[in-house]
């Protein structure tokens, strides 16, 4: 008898999805769950997110590499799409590596998992707060950085990367801190 799959709208997950991640049903992803591989994933995610955030500066490739307008647009578009999808894929792997604990509701976790999830969110709050503060200071104190401009560089890549970071930071911290079983 199939039980109804409860949807947790606030967390953006389903009961079956969380339970599937919490168990070892997907044994093909077991390699992701060692601490070493989780930390490698966190480093790759950090690099990827930084690359996406710097996307607004990529048009300078044209002047640096002496490319024609058409070539530059193609390289720029393909690279941007590739970087965004790579980070998205990294985020999916990251969630699998920490069994989706960071996004799971209380009722599907045990007391230790709730504790480590909450601790990760506490550090993520600090981390995200410091990053936002640094960006605000850069906008205010360093206009030559040109984070937001009316033409060309509209800051959209920075916003996309901040959205990635907002979603992934608790999982990244969890992946970094959790020991092996």
């Amino acid at each position: 008898m199939s039980k109804k799959n409860k949807i947790y709208w606030f967390e953006g997950v389903t009961e079956k999805g969380v339970k599937s991640l919490l168990t070892d049903e997907n044994s093909k992803y077991r390699w992701l769950r060692s601490q070493k591989n989780r930390r490698i994933l966190v480093v790759l995610m950090t690099i990827g997110t930084a690359l996406v955030a710097a996307g607004s500066y990529w048009p300078t490739l044209k002047t640096n590499l002496n490319l024609s307008d058409g070539t530059e647009v193609v390289i720029y578009s393909v690279a941007a799409i590739f970087a965004i999808f790579a980070v998205l894929l990294g985020y999916l792997f990251l969630r699998i590596s920490v069994r989706g604990i960071a996004d799971a509701p209380d009722e599907l976790l045990d007391e230790r998992q709730i504790k480590i999830r909450d601790t990760s969110f506490r550090y993520a709050y600090y981390g995200f707060g410091y990053i936002v503060l640094a960006l605000l200071l850069l906008m205010n104190l360093g206009p030559e950085v040109k984070l937001f401009q009316p033409e060309g560089n509209d800051g959209s890549y920075l916003i996309i990367s901040m959205m990635f970071l907002c979603a992934a930071l608790p999982s990244m911290i969890l992946a970094w801190r959790e020991r092996d079983i």
């Binding site: 976790l109 045990d110 007391e111 230790r112 998992q113 801190r177 020991r179």
Partner: protein, 81 residues
């Protein structure tokens, strides 16, 4: 250490969960299912890397047919006892 984050230096709670579990012939997964926790949590408990709440300690003790005081202690258990 780079990126080190503070961990709560809890007072360790020593236990004999593994000994009692093996005596009953239970796997970690079976004990976890009966106690209503993830099997990883049983692993953390057995390695004394996590101190359980009173409710969980009572549930585990009941599952293993033991008194909480027989299973958990603030001082190390003597070998063979």
């Amino acid at each position: 250490m780079l990126f080190s984050m503070s961990r709560n230096p809890e007072e360790p709670v020593y236990n004999r969960i593994e000994e009692a579990r093996l005596a009953l012939g239970l796997s970690r997964q079976e004990l976890a299912d009966k106690a209503g926790v993830h099997y990883q949590t049983i692993g953390y408990l057995e390695r004394e890397e996590y101190s359980p709440s009173l409710v969980l300690a009572l549930r585990i003790a009941k599952t293993l047919n033991q008194e909480v005081s027989e299973l958990f202690s603030l001082t190390p258990f003597k070998k063979g006892k």
